[in-house]
Amino acid sequence: MKGNKFVITLISILLGLVIGGIALSITGFNPIEAYKIMFKGVFSNPKYISWTIIRSTPLILTGISVSFAFKTGLFNIGAEGQFIFGSLVATLVGYFFHLPPIIHPIVALLAGILAGALWGGIAGFLKSKFGINEVITTIMLNWIALYFSNFMVFWEPFKRPNRDASERILDTASIQILEKWKTSDAGKAFLANNTFLKDFLNPPVNFGIIIAILVAILIWYILKHTTLGYQLRAVGFNKDAAEYGGINIKRNTILAMMIAGAISGLSGATQVLGVSKETAILATMEGYGFDGMAVALIANSNPLACIPAALLFGGLKYGGSKLQPTMGAPIEVINITIGVIIMFIAMPKLINIIAAFRSRKRGVEIENAK
């Protein structure tokens, strides 16, 4: 059963690439060439691998956030807003607090987690107190978060002069790996002899990926092996039965949204502390939450599976971005491909039919061979 799902996902990815390839051919681009470029664009240099990981890290987390909510019977369209809120607050803490290294990022991450939890918790609260569908509230909260973040960036003590962005976080708050050392003389000397490491460390490699993996394991563990996970899932599957079993529905609904929000908030915080170092004015939604939904769906809402799913997603986006400068192919193809992959994943029945058809054909061939 589990193996089956995995195979379906693989076949879906393949079919998505095929259809993306067809779209490319229609526009006169060689799909093989294009996929080669994408593949090389991700794997041909350690630093591309780093970039892919960096690109995927926030998506692992927002993916887990959406997955977690799904598992508890909630639809978290609000990962985007929770991400925004988490990054805003992490930036505030990263800039205004003066703390020693190690402590500083931990405090900032926790602040991001809390902020996301608060933002998600609002939706949970409105649901359990007023019965308002979380789909509406999270859509609204996304926009509120966006404008609020923009509002805060313009707050005089926070705004960086001559920039439409906040001040950058203090160095003590960074979670980049070997950030100082990389550019120090000793580091440069060392890296000069070690090109792999040099390339790998060239991008802003940070602890985000480790945090994301730990969170994936933690959430998987919580869902599967703890009483907390048990009660959250019970509420998700059947409220009435959970209530009957003595589980507090309202509290658990709020809690579930808070945890989902916390993970998205953490995603925003790692992005700030590890990569962007600031909060910029947002002209539109950046899509971390929406892409996270796609990741969750590819991962079938399994927190652990969010890791490869996000890497796939990030890889497609990052690799796909190299199509334009090298062959002039439109990157929209990537979105179409991702959409098709998700569409096929949604239809295990179709994949099974295709697989059955293929194996029958193969069977016939074998028959004929005899």
């Binding site: 007023f130 789909v135 859509i139 926009w143 923009n150 313009f154 179409i336 959409g339 569409m343 949604a346």
Partner: protein, 321 residues
């Protein structure tokens, strides 16, 4: 007196803002009443906006463009229907896929049809959807200043594109369709209790297909109401979030056409209010003002709407035994 024309402007903006949302949320109403959750409204709206602007440009006829938008939305919805109805896909998953495919395809095709540009070529005013009451009020130019104010206000309110009036008529039509006709009764039965419908010899799948495709057609219209009425071309960021707002409006309206319309109007009015407040001497930060429509929606939900239940079998793939 100034208040009167201000009010006129706010109402006018409300209608302009709401119209595309109304089409789309009516689409949501149809689909969900037949038991198919449609998160893909955004994608369907986008492809409608693209198709409407493109076809209207090449045919120089906005109505053909409008129809084409419906067809494009319907085709994308067909994909959703195939996935959800025939292949019992998870509706949310399929909807999200639609939201990647719709916008991706729209820009992709725009680049093909318009020499690599990411927007279609704007239509002339004459080639846009007409404004049936345009000139009606401005032709009366009363000398009395009060009367002039009133005429102004009326012009702000009623000098709208035909798409606005069609949207309002469609609310009535969808309500009639859903609650008064045979097909409507069957659609709702399929959304509530598909097995019951099945045992009465109703073809559940066909009904669902119909409702989902119609929902795409309406969402497509909604996109076109944006691209060939509110403005005059399609561009990448034209539809960014309206589909989700329409979805929210539908839930807000408790899955009913008239309720969904109210939800859209509320949202549009909040935007109108924001624009109005922004024009007054009140010194409110524009970022905070921009948050207002969303906050108002939440507050109204808390205070007046409360718990709502969708069609019972919504989101559950139906499989014959």
């Amino acid at each position: 007196m100034k208040m009167l024309s201000d009010l006129g402007v706010i109402i006018g903006i409300t209608l302009m803002y709401s119209a595309p949302l109304i089409y789309t949320s009516l689409g949501g109403v149809l689909s969900e009443n037949a038991g198919v959750v449609n998160i893909g409204l955004e994608g369907m709206m986008t492809i409608g906006a693209f198709a409407g602007a493109t076809v209207a440009y090449f045919t120089q006829n906005p109505w053909i463009g409008f129809l084409a938008a419906g067809i494009a939305g319907g085709l994308l919805a067909l994909l959703h229907a195939i996935a959800c109805v025939t292949f019992t896909a998870d509706h949310v998953v399929s909807g999200i896929a639609i939201n990647f495919i719709g916008p991706g395809l729209s820009i992709f095709l725009t680049k093909i049809f318009f020499d690599g540009a990411a927007m279609t070529i704007p239509l002339d005013l004459d080639n846009k959807i007409p404004r049936p009451l345009n000139g009606l009020f401005s032709s009366i130019s009363p000398t009395n200043p009060t009367m002039a104010r009133i005429v102004d206000a009326l012009d702000s309110i009623f000098n709208q594109y035909a798409t606005v009036y069609i949207a309002l008529l469609l609310v009535l039509a969808v309500w009639f369709f859903l609650y008064k006709t045979k097909l409507g009764l069957r659609i709702r039965s399929v959304g509530e209790h598909p097995r019951a419908a099945d045992t009465l010899g109703i073809n559940v799948y066909r009904i669902k297909y119909l409702a989902v495709i119609l929902s795409g057609v309406l969402a497509g219209f909604g996109g076109a109401a944006m691209s060939i009425a509110v403005i005059s071309n399609y561009r990448a960021a034209l539809i960014s979030g309206q589909g989700f707002i329409a979805l929210a409006a539908m839930i807000f309206g408790k899955w009913k056409p008239q309720g969904a319309m109210l939800g859209c109007l509320l949202f549009g009015a909040a935007q109108g209010l924001v624009v109005y407040l922004g024009s007054t001497s009140l010194n409110i930060s524009s970022q905070l003002l921009a948050m207002l429509p969303y906050i108002i929606t939440l507050v109204v939900l808390m205070g007046f709407v409360g718990e709502a239940r969708g069609p019972k079998a919504s989101g559950i793939p139906y499989e014959k035994e």
